[in-house]
Assembly symmetry: D2
């Protein structure tokens, strides 16, 4: 007797789109069966005309820990559930930053109390805390982040420190990830523009040129090459050329991955000019030509995964203060919109195969960050995390419908095609038609289990 059966739908995996029945028992996928199998089950859901896909694993979320005016675990968890994301990986840029055991445990405690989706917690590779990483790893932090450039509330890690950190991580197998931009290139440009009185969105874009990101990626790859066993990752790559550099490194056997985000696939420079601070992120959105090149790379598999980099700020901080665009807070919201944007811009507009979508949003992030085995696929024994999708449903995105503390989105007013009808985690309905069905605290902590590659 199974607990739950979803029948009559099409099940999307990273390999196939099949008509079939999905069975869950004790929160785990317990069977996949041919249509008409009608195995005995306590509950039966009819997904006729709909698609089932594994729950999205969002590897890059800023959940607002310590800065409730930006976001809260409760809010972002609801947004995740409403957007088909069943697992979020919290980034370490909280208050305090997640680089000590104490900070990690504090964050974990609050997350366990407030998240309604499952979650993992990243650590950080920052100066002064290299030796803390192993402890955090034991606690379940499988990935460690560094900023190559400055960041308001997170220490910059220089090349030498990154290299030392990579040596330490290679011993136990943790993944290292960087925000790759060249700090001084950006600062000098920004200072000069400011001195010239140029402080608008265009000046912002031009002071964050593609080459400042490319340089950092190229440099980081060179570092990655030096440490046998290093597992490295580039977060929110905004430029096609950067992903190509990663591809070349992979051909040499380097264990490196690259992520992009919906904002780099759906927005371009004109959107920044039009939408202003709400669309400001770092790296910034790029040219339309770059958007199309990124999609090509996404379709070819040259980009490993897509994450939201959900990074909200109060609306007043996104408004350009004193006509100085550089002072608008950086980071866009994206948790609730990630999957719909990929369905709309990818699947419908650019023929992104559904299987490829599942690789990018579910399987690959779960694999890269040590969750595969529980998350990322609807395989026997995996958690029963899935979405029921109405692939052809058309709707308009509105900021007010977001669960975020700050209800803005760069996609406000956007015509979407493809909607999440219902989201299940461990076999339990957590959200249906945008309405929450579980309480905060339903979410469970996930340790990221890496295996050392040396």
């Amino acid at each position: 007797m199974f607990d739950l059966c979803v029948k009559n739908g099409k099940i999307i995996s990273s390999k196939t789109v099949l008509e079939g029945e999905l069975y869950v028992k004790d929160g785990k996928v317990a069977a996949i069966a041919a249509p008409g199998s009608n195995l005995e089950s306590k509950n039966i859901i009819d997904a006729a005309g709909k698609y089932l896909m594994p729950g999205v694993v969002d590897a890059h979320v800023h959940g607002g820990y310590g800065t409730p005016e930006r976001e809260t675990f409760e809010a972002v968890g609801k947004a995740a559930a409403a957007g088909g994301v069943t697992t979020v990986l919290e980034q370490p840029l909280s208050v305090p930053i997640t680089v000590t055991e104490e900070a990690f445990l504090g964050k974990k405690k609050e997350a366990e109390e407030r998240f309604c989706v499952d979650f993992g917690i990243w650590g950080g590779l920052v100066p002064g805390h290299l030796e803390d990483m192993e402890k955090l790893y034991e606690l379940g932090a499988g990935a460690f982040k560094s900023f190559m450039c400055r960041c308001s509330n997170y220490p910059t890690t220089n090349d030498g420190q990154i290299l030392e950190g990579l040596k330490i991580l290679a011993k136990f197998g943790g993944v290292h990830a960087v925000h790759a931009e060249n700090d001084t290139l950006i600062q000098e440009l920004a200072d000069r523009f400011r001195a010239e009185g140029k402080m608008d969105a265009k000046a912002y874009l031009e002071s964050h040129p593609p080459y400042s990101e490319l340089e950092a990626i190229q440099r980081y790859i060179l570092l990655s090459r030096q440490i046998p066993g290093a597992k490295t990752h580039i977060v929110h790559c905004s430029i096609a050329e950067g992903a190509l550099e990663v591809g070349r490194a992979k051909m040499d056997g380097i264990d490196i991955s690259v992520e992009t985000c919906p904002q780099y696939l759906a927005l371009c420079e004109d959107d920044l000019y039009e939408k202003g601070g709400v669309a400001k992120c770092d790296p910034p959105v790029r040219s339309l030509e770059n958007v199309e090149k990124l999609w090509e790379l996404v379709k070819e598999g040259a980009i490993d995964l897509i994450a939201s980099d959900h990074s909200p700020h109060p609306f007043e901080k996104k408004v350009v203060p004193e006509n100085d665009f550089s002072k608008a807070a950086e980071g866009v919201t994206g948790e609730q919109t990630m999957l719909p944007v990929i369905l709309t811009e990818g699947v419908h507009k650019r023929k992104l195969p559904l299987t490829k979508m599942v690789q990018l949003l579910c399987e690959n992030p779960a694999r890269r960050f040590g969750l595969y085995g529980r998350k990322g696929a609807l395989e026997i024994g995996f958690d029963g995390d899935f979405n029921i999708i109405d692939l052809d449903k058309e709707w308009i995105c509105h900021g007010k419908d977001m669960y975020y503390v700050n209800k803005h989105t760069p996609y406000d007013g956007k015509h979407m095609k493809g909607a999440v009808e219902a989201t299940y985690i461990r076999g339990r309905l957590v959200c249906e038609q945008g309405e929450m069905k579980v309480e905060p605290g339903f979410g469970q902590f996930l340790a990221m289990k890496m295996r050392p590659s040396i």
Copy 2:
């Protein structure tokens, strides 16, 4: 009520190795369920301690059509079944060559009568028959082969003809594949060695230098780049550098794949000197260093698939006549040994993950050659083709145990680890412990269904 249940084994897919139960109904995979599900089934097999894997899809088989002294469909089919291969793709180098509707239908008829495993049939892209390809494609030939160098019984196709052929294939989506060697480089070297009285195995190797293969691969890639929508494939690539060239082309978005064979992964030059004609194939086996580089590429995924290139000859033709090694027939047997060799040399000796093995032997060849959906994976609705594997069983390979018409193998006397216990096709036991359980003619014809990429 399912027809068949295999329980207590570990199921290997291209993504996971899971404990689970496999259910078959009407020849198709009907359910995969968690251990202990115990769904109702007519027959139950206990695979405790064993592994289940999808049946191997061998994309490169010379079945001996028209040359029964070399091989027969009956014999090679049995060898396939005994070796865990449930689908074979017949190459067009038969008598007559498979480049006309008549030849295709004649071969298909005999195959349907004599094969005990499922099969597809390649066509050929050869001068004078470019216009026949579309008809063959309609009949089910999804892949078309050309020789860039001379071959005793198959016409050479020159670069211009290849390019014209690629244009035609791009219209309906057929895959083109080449035997990539530079003919004149080989001939000139061979002629000179012969003139110098050098006719031993060493002269043979030196007259087939790695660069003659690399040159042809490089040239073929350049051709592939010219035709939008071309799908191309390099058969039996013996050199690591060749696979790297293919990898570079893929990064540019070219739809090209590359195959290697067990003989290039398990044999090297010294084996040729020791075993003589029995180990002679074309391209020849290479250096030990190259073997290890190929394995690295196999593990990294730079090589798409492994096929046997089973190409037998009567033993007397493999004996070196008149002390002239070049006169020994080219081609090694490999159908029955392919999977055991990969288990022994790959899984056990070089830590090839089982999931990666399934990609290389099952999923990728099925995908590339239009069989995915029925073959290559144990997904719901796919054919119930699988092997039960004893991963740790050790045994000695003997030529006399082969089902081939010509019972020789370059692995004679080799210590193997990993054995095929039983092979099922469409839910039916076809071979158990090397004993055939079905009659010739059990095998079914498979049309290769490609989709045009333009």
Copy 3:
């Protein structure tokens, strides 16, 4: 007492443009002195307002030996002198082809009798004559040509034969050169176009696509890599991408050079459509974009030398017969116009430095083909071969003013800037304002002295 002094001019070398006095004695450069040195000299020429440059060394000339209806040594020699070319290197595509001692000596004899400029004679690397090369080398043939594609009166040399030939040449240091086009690509395209009734200039261009040249260059470079000590050369490269491939090979230490021709730097597709057969050459002229890229490479030094590939035909053979452009004879005239075209299109229009011009037209061809020490520069002890140039003189080019047997030119009507006022060879005035001052037979034979690189 010197024999000759040229004073008041500016002397162009490959390194500098200097005011100075040039002194010749016994046919050799005997002194270069500062202006006003006024050393004692029998004859004094005032070159005030003019430039002196070394005589041009044209490494690629089809002098018409055995085909007087195409060209004669007497005519082409006069054209050379009138165009500032003081040394020509005769190509082996004569009747008979220059691949035997007899053919070489016959050609040499006629050349000595009829040429009014100095000359060297290439041999050929063709099947059946590999063993003749060493003898020809001893006789003074330092360079050996092969066709990778078919040619009406010269055998094609296949890859294997080229490789064997390179091994032989490496022993004594001869340079090998190829006409690099892929034969079958061209033939198949041409056949198909013909079958489709497309036989105009556009069909001709499209049946000789850039990739057919690129493929052959790429293949030839791979061959060059195999033979330590090989010195190789690509004649009349028409595509920028081809020169870039050569550049990459040089970075790996390969001793390879590349030549382009005025027709690829001054003419483009539209010229072919406009001028018809008179502008038909092989490889054909390319796109305007390619022209500009070639100029960039010329200026950067990525192209080693410029040669005329003077290859005349009777006018009636250049007229398109039966509306089939492919039947028009291939090859353009270019001996008399080479230097003026480079002055006009390079020096004046694209700021090609005069020093770079001397490298491309004088020093580099002399170095590459074993004449440096006598030819290619106005160094002490070198032959007193030079031109007096009026850099700013403007004039119109007319076919009727050519010394060729067939007085057509693709530059007919072209506005030129820069003119050869007088040409001296070994200190002797050979042509002044287009008027010949020496008799046929004044020209001397030059042995090409190579040094083996292994």
Copy 4:
């Protein structure tokens, strides 16, 4: 009537080695004439059996301005003259650093009073002084140096500042040059080694790994690509791979050059272990394998020029203090030994052509740094700066024979082959057999005349 004639010698230029007579008048090369010309001259020198070469232009000299305990212009000038160097380019790492008009003029004044060879003066591109560069350029500083890593007495310039500086330089054409090492990689390694108690020469080498230099070169090239018209240069490149990166950038049309030094061509790690602080320089000497690769690149022309990076320190600062090798002063002496080392290790030991030597030591540095026209070659009108060389003379190098303030050299005891017999500047004998023939102050200031490339 010429002032000076050198006859019977062989004159080496960048193109040829010729028997000839060199005539000087009013300090300038006034004629080059064939042997036996015997033009009238006030003084005649018989160089029978000897070679004449242009005076060496050493583009990278630390003359000790403001730090007389390290070096003085008088001493280094004498060393230069004794070593065949007729022009030195003073680096800006003086006290004060040469980044202001005042500092430049102060240095120029002292140099004019104390140098006995001709000299130019570099400026610096350092933070806070970008706007001073144009003024320095007008004063004659054609090249501007930055440190990408820290340096004891010279500010580090970050990537952003370099980019801004390149924009400024591109306006008037100055060359920018960097010391390319990644600072934080070195510091982190050094700190860790120190923490582990590793402070010997090996730790020093390992804390300055080749990749820290390669990274900086790669990064600098990326910066160079961003600014049209930028002219960039990498000083003292110690690694072959770095020069290859520069070569790749050149193929893309980037105007970048690269220099190496005798210490990287003649010394390797074992020398550092053996000789200690006297052989310590930054970047450090590398592996023997790298030495040979560098020589290959030097011979192929992939390295543009060789400079001494003469950078002396008092002997007591070169002695390893407190057993901490990192505290030994960095920089080796090299002014007086540069040419003999290249003659010994290059010309004699590795068949470096004499013409190539002249390119690397004379012509190329003069060209790159705006002195060509006066320096770098023995062309008419150029300064009469030359050396008479006894190519086969063998001798032992001794530190005590150096003119340096600090008479140590890493070549102490080295067997040399090839000696400078006499050095002339502007036609005047300045040093003969190591004995000075002019007074301090004979040297003249040279403005470096660049032309903007945009």
